[in-house]
């Protein structure tokens, strides 16, 4: 696998994550390494329990790894993220119904990060909030609405606006469209593609949906049971040329139902 062309903005080296202790310990991630270049979109793919979301949460600082090194924008990361990390990297979660506080207006959701980082001077905050809403395709009329007054797609737009308001370089996207209808998914995927083009953002996209990853990313890492299965380019995936049988099976199953293929499914541990 050739390394990405640009300088890496994210490096994950020999990551191990263990949950629990003693006999109950679960080894969720084992020896996972990858590098992502500035401006690249990188997919983490796998079935439930593969450890893909855990890897994303380690990068965000939400999970402390048992071993391994994370380097973000040249800075080696310890167990806890410094406050400035929020201006480098932000996360968008799967469920837009759960990730927004039900009693906070859109305005409050967007102003809070600015206030924490001392950017909420009167006028300045107003301007930033309006620009952030405009960038995600929501008009100023949405500013004082509450989450229950928004559709799933609009909520996800607010979540993306919240993630972008501090001007991060990296977006960590955890299944950002899997809770949405396909027509809304298309709108959000188009929005994410446009924002990346305009701002030169780097994306780490976790998804179980190979088609979504292929649409948004250039490279992907396939995981199973916490381990790396293989790293490949989206072109290799499209050419149906994954070298690992696990990836081939995942690809086959993603293309639709096939009675013969279903009979030949294998279990990989």
């Amino acid at each position: 696998m050739s390394p990405p062309a640009g300088s890496p903005v994210l490096e994950v080296e020999r990551l191990d994550v263990v949950f629990g202790h003693g006999a109950d310990a679960v080894h969720a991630v084992r020896d996972v390494s990858f590098r992502v270049a500035e401006g690249e979109a990188f997919g983490l793919v796998g079935e439930s329990g593969s450890g893909k979301t855990t890897v994303l949460r380690v990068i965000a600082g939400l999970v402390v790894p048992a071993a391994g090194r994370i380097t973000v924008a040249g800075e080696p990361q310890g167990p806890h993220r410094p406050r400035g990390f929020a201006r480098v990297s932000q996360m968008v979660f799967q469920d837009p119904y759960g990730s927004l506080h039900p009693r906070h207006s859109v305005d409050r959701v967007l102003v809070e990060p600015l206030a924490i980082h001392g950017l909420a001077r009167r006028g300045e905050a107003d301007r930033r909030v309006e620009r952030a809403l405009d960038e995600v395709g929501l008009g100023p009329s949405f500013r004082f609405r509450y989450p229950h007054q928004l559709s799933g797609g609009q909520r996800q737009r607010v979540a993306i606006a919240r993630a972008l308001i501090l001007g991060p370089r990296i977006l960590l996207l955890d299944e950002p469209t899997s809770a949405l209808d396909v027509s809304v998914q298309a709108e959000i995927l188009n929005l994410l593609a446009r924002l990346r083009r305009e701002r030169g953002l780097t994306y780490i996209l976790v998804s179980h949906n190979l088609a979504v990853v292929a649409h948004l990313c250039e490279r992907l890492l396939v995981m199973n049971s916490g381990r790396t299965v293989e790293e490949l380019t989206v072109d290799q995936l499209r050419a149906a040329a994954p070298s690992e049988p696990y990836t081939r099976q995942l690809l086959q199953a993603s293309l639709g139902y096939d009675r013969q293929a279903a009979a030949q499914l294998m279990t990989f541990d």
Binding site: E47, S48, D181, V182, S183, Q185, A186, E187, L189, N190, A193, H208, L210, A211, V212, A214, H215, L237, R238, Q249, L250, L251, A253, S254, L255, G256, Y257, D258, R259, A261, A262, A263, L265
Partner: protein
């Protein structure tokens, strides 16, 4: 082909203080011994259609239809005891998330056995034996171990297989499956679909497969109904879904990212108000 189920001009209404919400608006179709897909986005009325067939529309919903018959039984006028006999026994339903459909404080095997006992009147001992057989039939590898597991101890795919085993116990003529595989990994989804497929081919069961996943329905079902705003806007053979004529269906298909056909930008659906009021196909 004689239909198992005939639905003619079905309406589901929820009267409210301000206005009446019409969830299903004049839907007509027939189901034979086949796999019929109902596709639509959230709010299209696809789940309500499935529930109305079993008279499981929650209060204060009202169901009306010119005809709603299952194997000669009028489901609209059947008494509640008669409906209880039909539900599960002759028409079964499998829902999306097994976590919410299984009893959390009862081993899953006992739940399958209970279903068998209720439907056949057999003893507990006999029912347990049959439950193990049914768990094996849905390709659970160690049925004895899974039998004793509680719902929180089994994975989503396993839970859904248990639900299907429970439904097998009754041996229904018609199965209404509402997003039965949406919470599952793609490979597990394939296995669960293969089980349903075999039930239709081998037992001659009718299947109503409700889903939001167009590609899946196109590859799995025989026929497809496409619902929008409570109406059927188009009906076609599943294999011919790619050649769909209604602009809504075409728009949905174009908005899907595809591995084999990359596009720089996905088409966004432009909803035409006329779709709402067009005649039901």
């Amino acid at each position: 082909m004689t239909p198992i189920l005939t639905v003619d001009d079905l309406w589901v209404r929820f009267p409210g203080r301000v206005r009446t919400v019409e969830a299903v608006r004049g839907v007509s179709f027939e189901v034979g011994r086949e796999k019929l897909g109902i596709v639509g986005e959230s709010g299209s009325g696809k789940s309500m259609t499935g529930r109305a067939i079993l008279r499981l529309v929650p209060h204060p919903g009202q169901v009306t239809a010119r005809q709603l018959t299952f194997e000669g039984i009028d489901l609209l006028t059947a008494s509640e005891p008669a409906m209880r006999d039909i539900r599960g026994h002759r028409i079964a339903m499998v829902l999306q998330d097994p976590k919410f459909s299984l009893n959390p404080v009862m081993p899953v095997g006992d739940q399958v056995a209970e279903a068998w006992r209720v439907h056949s009147g057999a003893s507990w001992k006999e029912s347990r034996r049959r439950a193990l057989e049914m768990l094996e039939a849905v390709r659970i590898r160690r049925p004895e171990r899974v039998y004793r597991a509680y719902p929180h101890e089994v994975s989503g795919g396993m839970g859904q297989r248990v639900m299907i085993a429970m439904m097998l116990a009754a041996g229904p003529d018609l199965l209404i499956a509402d997003e039965p595989t949406s919470a599952l990994d793609v490979t597990v989804q394939m296995q669960v679909l293969a089980i349903l497929d075999d039930l239709v081919t081998e037992r001659g069961m009718g299947l109503v497969f409700i889903s939001h996943d167009l590609n899946l329905v196109a590859s799995f079902c025989d026929r497809v109904l496409i619902m929008y705003a409570g109406r059927i806007v188009e009906t076609c053979r599943a294999q011919e879904l790619g050649a769909a004529r209604h602009p809504y269906t075409q728009g949905l298909l174009r908005s899907l990212p595809r591995i084999d056909r990359p596009v720089p930008e996905l088409a966004v659906l432009d909803r035409d108000p006329a779709w709402r009021d067009g005649p039901s196909a």
